[in-house]
Chain length 348, copies 2
């Protein structure tokens, strides 16, 4: 039985949508049990059937706008901190939240704990690929770190390859380094060094490194695993999000503000536009993963519906079922020296 | 009379579209003269009327794929290098090319020369704003530098403000720092330091600093001048480009692959879609500028039409007419100490 520690208070529609999502997942997956951390009265008010669901009362909660590290240090009785501690102590196997992303990152790294041999866990997200061999690609770090070293990026290539192979079921996933040009000598010192490490990993057969990729080619499926430093990965993800959102909004207002012709055209085209919007809505591809922690730590977006919450539990189920963290840990332990920050890197 | 040195051989449709664009601009602006650098026979074959147009034969040309710095060092007789030297020597007032962007950057920085007091000229581009007080915003550095120091970013805030005020005619343009969050303490060491310098500039009244902006909000007009380091600015610009291109492509194929309903809807909506695509096509807002050089250096995209080439000359005309580089140079000279790289910054 897989046991999931759920922050039932995180998210715009918590605890109602979270609890409803947990019940959907419980009904769909017979070998999953849930610990709902949060306000007991509020959870009881929305819980229909407590089969395989245990309420763990938490007196506090972390708000969306709180400073993450301070919040997890100060609010020891918050739903998130208590849920993370349950994973740390082995009472639960994975951590879920739809709340403050920074706080979940901090709880994942500092409470659940980073995996031995992984220096800086990353925030990883899965996005749609509109061309290439697969329907999606995975990218990290999209914002766990403001600064990275080359060895971190090498480790992300390994982590992302495991995820793409084991969870997305891609055969020999293509790893690309997000850089400011496609040629091998592109980028600043960090990216040149990371290129060398990833190329070395490719030669050793640890991953399938295909070289540099540019942000303009990502949605065309340029790589299955996109390795980025946390600063430019964050900027890239947010630029993709913002552009997609703006374009859909502009198209909509173009239709509404225009003449009858466009209004009829828009009405006829509506199902097509909806399909495009749905493919761009990357919550379809599962929640964001804090990769490199000792156990699965997964975040879904704040406004997730019960169905989206349930989908995220399916993703967590797969991660536990294939023993993703165990497989990564064994690889990292076996290749500890190579993956470690080398002295000349540490000095920087 | 403004004299423009034109690289007539750069671009996908050179020299034909370039020469045609020059003739359109010549007919529209009586106080502009042009020196066309390139293959004399090829230019003569397409030139209709040589009024205020002088052909300057160049035996070589720089290809799109050539390594920029090596190309401008090696190909001393190339159309781009000769045109840049004409600006350097004062025979011409501004440099134009539709060719290899990196080579134009290198020619701008190393031949035309960087402005005294500006450490690292930037590549600056103007993009559409779909909300906020203006129709466009300008962003730099979008890729001239792989690495920047905080003082460079401060200088970009000054340079961009001059451009937005003098060329785009924005009143008190809002300067935002592209960062991984909107709070003042966000980012890595570089961006935290740049924030401090820009805030200082704001207090002194040198620019109107509004704080950090995130890439997801740029197309919504979050700032009029977006200051970015060259690496993440490049990643952000290419992510915006790639997402817009992919979405338009997916919409198109959704329409084509779908049933009769969508096809009729698509046909009715076509003019609306075209308007959206046109607004996203940022060549509408002028060419990319190498900002921080001694004279205007402007690039239009490789597949520019004659009309787009002519529009870029209108932009150059405005830059010369308001004496943009002169105004910037006077400000930078008057505030040299403050804008200079400080010792503690240089040590990094």
């Amino acid at each position: 039985m897989f046991k999931i520690a759920v922050d039932a208070m995180g998210g715009d529609n918590a605890p109602a949508e979270i609890v409803a999502g947990v019940e959907l997942a419980r009904d769909a997956m017979p070998n999953m049990a849930f610990q709902l951390y949060g306000d007991q009265a509020q959870i009881e008010a929305v819980l229909v059937n407590n089969d395989r669901i245990e309420i763990m009362h938490a007196a506090e909660m972390i708000e969306m706008a709180e400073e993450p590290v301070r919040a997890i240090r100060k609010k020891k009785q918050s739903s998130l901190v208590l849920a993370a501690q349950a994973v740390k102590s082995g009472e639960a196997d994975a951590l879920f939240s739809a709340g403050n992303t920074g706080a979940l990152l901090a709880a994942g790294i500092f409470i659940v704990g980073r995996m031995k041999g992984i220096d800086r866990p990353a925030l990883m997200t899965t996005l749609p690929a509109f061309d290439g061999p697969h329907q999606a690609f995975t990218m990290m770090d999209v914002g766990a770190n403001a600064e990275n070293k080359a060895t971190h990026l090498y480790q992300y290539g390994i982590l992302g390859s495991f995820y793409a192979r084991e969870i997305l079921e891609f055969d020999n996933p293509r790893v690309g380094l997000l850089n400011n040009g496609s040629e091998a000598d592109k980028g600043d010192a960090l990216h040149k060094e990371a290129y060398g490490l990833l190329a070395h990993g490719g030669e050793q057969g640890y991953l399938n490194f295909i070289g540099n990729v540019e942000s303009r080619d990502l949605l065309q499926g340029a790589a299955d695993v996109v390795v980025a430093d946390g600063f430019s990965g964050n900027a890239t993800l947010k630029a993709i999000e913002g552009t997609a959102k703006t374009m859909l909004r502009v198209l909509k207002s173009t239709i509404m503000d225009a003449g009858l012709r466009e209004k009829i055209g828009g009405a006829l085209l509506k199902p097509g536009l909806k399909r495009v919007a749905a493919r761009l809505d990357y919550s379809e591809y599962g929640g964001a993963v804090v990769i490199g922690t000792n156990q699965p730590v997964v975040k879904t977006h704040g406004s997730a519906s019960a169905q989206e919450v349930a989908n995220t539990f399916t993703q967590i189920h797969t991660m536990l079922d294939v023993d993703l963290t165990g497989k990564i840990q064994r690889f990292v332990t076996d290749h500890a020296d190579e993956l470690a920050a080398r002295p000349e890197t540490e000095e920087k």
